[in-house]
């Protein structure tokens, strides 16, 4: 393991067949798999609006975006498989509730403004989380993240642009936007995970250069970026404690409801059951198709 420590210390990448501590391998598989699951489950909240999008242009944008999420899930499963994980096994763990995905996707998308707010806030938070992961010490993960970040460069912009357009529309539309911001702001802040004091894995992940910034650092960065965007959009962020702190050079903000986060993570969010049910249904309904293709390939090979 001298090689491993040395490679990490020199800020070089660990590649698939390098020796690595078993705990590092397990941590990487878990992190990448959860990330992959999040991309796949994350198709559902927005996917519900593809067939209902109010213009053909929005329909095309949304369809391309949700398709990208499937692609990103695949890049990530591919990275996990370089560590010896099996995608079928990871999928089983997901639909049996043994592996998690981002809790943000357990909230419902009630109006089309949610599509815009997901792009602006949820994808914005994801970008803050993901850009540092491009430097992850595990090579295949870092490379997958670079590709994902590049492809996602349009996701946040399309969301913000949709909201700008709606804010120039009717009163009903402006109310839809503000309502969606009210519902998604706090869950977005929770996407960065529990506060650093309650995040037991952070220290080891930082040492292994799997993580580059703490949860609270990333959350602060996200708040600082979002405030001027909200002003420009003309919406109010639903936090009475939110104000600029000249001394710190950052915004102060309120405390998210961490009990809510725990409830949602433990399976008690508004949409947990529905998300998993749909994923399981697709997997189980597709079993005969996958089996048929495998059988056909065997016949042709023999």
């Amino acid at each position: 393991m001298l090689d491993f420590e040395d490679t990490i210390a020199r800020d070089q990448r660990i590649e698939p067949r390098d020796p690595m501590p078993e705990a590092y391998r397990k941590t990487m598989i878990r992190q990448i798999a959860q990330h992959a699951h999040s991309e796949i489950i994350g198709m559902q909240p927005e996917g519900e609006w593809i067939t209902r999008a109010p213009t053909l242009r929005r329909k095309a944008i949304l369809l391309a975006k949700v398709q990208d999420e499937a692609g990103h899930g695949l890049y990530l499963y591919s990275a996990a498989e370089t560590l010896g994980a099996d995608r079928g096994d990871l999928t089983t763990r997901l639909i049996e509730g043994r592996q998690k995905y981002s809790s943000i996707f357990n909230y419902p998308t009630l109006t089309f403004a949610d599509v815009g707010v997901i792009g602006w806030l949820v994808d914005g938070a994801a970008i803050c989380n993901q850009v540092p992961l491009c430097r992850s010490s595990y090579g295949p993960y870092g490379r997958a993240m670079i590709r994902i970040c590049k492809e996602e460069s349009f996701h946040q912009r399309q969301g913000y642009e949709l909201l700008m357009t709606m804010m120039r529309g009717t009163d009903v539309q402006r109310e839809m936007v503000q309502d969606a911001v009210n519902r998604w702001w706090w869950p977005s802040l929770m996407m960065f995970g529990p506060p650093d004091g309650d995040s037991p894995n952070t220290a080891q992940s930082m040492a292994w250069k799997i993580k580059r910034h703490t949860n609270d650092e990333l959350r602060q960065r996200f708040v600082d970026m979002s405030v001027p965007q909200a002003v420009s959009l003309g919406v109010t962020l639903p936090d009475p404690a939110l104000r600029w702190n000249e001394e710190r050079g950052h915004h102060d903000f309120g405390t998210p409801d961490w009990d809510e986060l725990k409830r949602v993570i433990s399976g008690d969010g508004p949409m947990n059951a529905a998300r998993i049910t749909r994923r399981r249904q697709a997997h189980e309904d597709g079993a005969w198709v996958r089996a048929a293709a495998a059988a056909h390939a065997r016949k042709k090979a023999s």
Partner: protein, 391 residues
């Protein structure tokens, strides 16, 4: 990459080639004259663009409904690709329909409530398909508003798509069966429209031929895999083909004077070859109820089509057709599916013996199954529920 600036990092594309990322997009209508040439019947052009556009729009809708439900994640991506291609074709064709004739558009009241042009459309093209960028940059009155007024402002009776694209897919076998028929038919038709008189329709056809060639190949491979795979998949594939068959007769009812008439032999030959490779039986004839209902009328109503189909049975199989057969036996049925034939001289000795019984009532005439009303409720509900909304 500038990792400390999340947004800077996203626009830092220096190493594109290293990542095989984005080498740019081409506007399919670049350099194509937009004017409708003299001698082209504007009403007929508008009507035919509407028919082809509606076919693509509704078929795309049915594929969109598979999002998050595909049997494997790779197919999730593939099906979305096909849905996006068809949506792109629909947008271009509906836009052209609105340009060609104001008569095809719904009444102004419905149009404006459904879709006023977005004020930022032109400046927001960065994240959008080139198609929208070009139409937004052009005449706003015929760009987004044209396609959206037609998509969101019409009722079922005003849609002109074939009934083939309307019903929901019972399972993945139904999806690939219909996609095979739809893509094979549409490819044969649009291939023959590449030199049609209207330059925009011709350009759309040229673009679509590339896309549809892939759609057909994707579907053909899946039909073969499912037909040949397991007992269960074979039985499901056979059921899907049986359910598809009665819907194919409608395709011969093509009221537009612009519609090519020589696509049938190619269509029959391709379907026959794929089904043979899939070991799926061709249903012998149209279903009993429809042939029993009006046998005399159907043969009397369509003498031309019937003789065309008969003629195809005695035509020599072209080389490309046997190439498909050979490829099928080597497990690569669609990899070498032939480029479509110009002029429609094809057909094959083993071409499907379709029973031609054109429907008395066709989607082309605005007659639809109840499934279309359900689709439109879903597709148009939001757009219609926010009067004056901009999106």
């Amino acid at each position: 990459m500038s990792f400390d600036d999340a947004y800077g990092a996203l626009t830092d594309h220096d190493d594109d080639t290293r990542w095989a990322y984005g080498t740019g997009f081409a506007d399919p209508l670049a350099g194509v004259p937009a004017a409708i040439p003299p001698g082209v019947d504007r009403a007929a052009l508008a009507e035919y663009c509407l028919m082809l556009g509606d076919d693509a729009l509704i078929m795309s809708h049915r594929l969109q409904q598979w999002v998050t439900l595909a049997p494997e994640l790779e197919d999730e991506v593939a099906i979305a690709n096909i849905a996006l291609d068809l949506l792109g074709q629909a947008r271009l064709l509906l836009t052209r329909a609105a340009e060609a004739s104001a008569d095809v558009a719904p009444a102004p009241a419905a149009a404006s409530s459904a879709a006023a042009p977005a004020p930022v459309a032109a400046s927001s093209a960065a994240g959008d398909a080139p198609v929208a960028a070009s139409s937004a940059a052009g005449d706003a009155s015929t760009g987004a508003r044209g396609e959206d007024a037609l998509a969101f402002g019409r009722g079922p009776a005003e849609f002109r798509n074939v009934q083939l694209v309307e019903r929901a897919d019972a399972d993945f076998a139904h999806l690939v069966a219909r996609l095979l028929a739809f893509a094979t038919w549409r490819l044969a038709v649009l291939d023959r429209l590449r030199d049609t008189a209207d330059p925009i329709l011709a350009a759309v056809a040229t673009k679509a031929v590339k896309e549809l060639t892939y759609h057909r190949e994707y579907a053909a491979h899946w039909v073969v895999r499912l037909g040949d795979g397991t007992d269960e998949s074979h039985s499901r594939m056979q059921s899907a083909i049986d359910a598809l068959w009665p819907l194919l007769a409608e395709l011969d009812h093509e009221p537009s004077p612009l519609a090519p008439t020589t696509w049938r032999p190619e269509f029959n030959a391709i379907l026959s070859q794929v089904l043979t490779a899939a070991t799926v039986a061709e249903p012998a004839a149209a279903p009993a109820e429809s042939s029993a209902a009006a046998p005399a009328e159907s043969s009397a109503a369509a003498p031309a089509e019937s003789s065309a189909a008969d003629a195809s049975l005695s035509t020599e199989a072209p080389d490309a057709v046997s190439a498909v057969d050979d490829a099928a036996e080597m497990s690569l049925p669609g990899a070498t599916l032939p480029p479509t034939h110009r002029g429609g001289g094809g057909g094959g000795a083993r071409a499907a013996n379709f029973e031609i019984s054109p429907l008395a009532e066709s989607g082309r005439d605005g007659v639809h199954t109840p499934a279309l009303a359900e689709i439109l409720d879903e597709m148009q509900g939001l757009a219609r529920s926010v009067p004056g909304g901009v999106w």
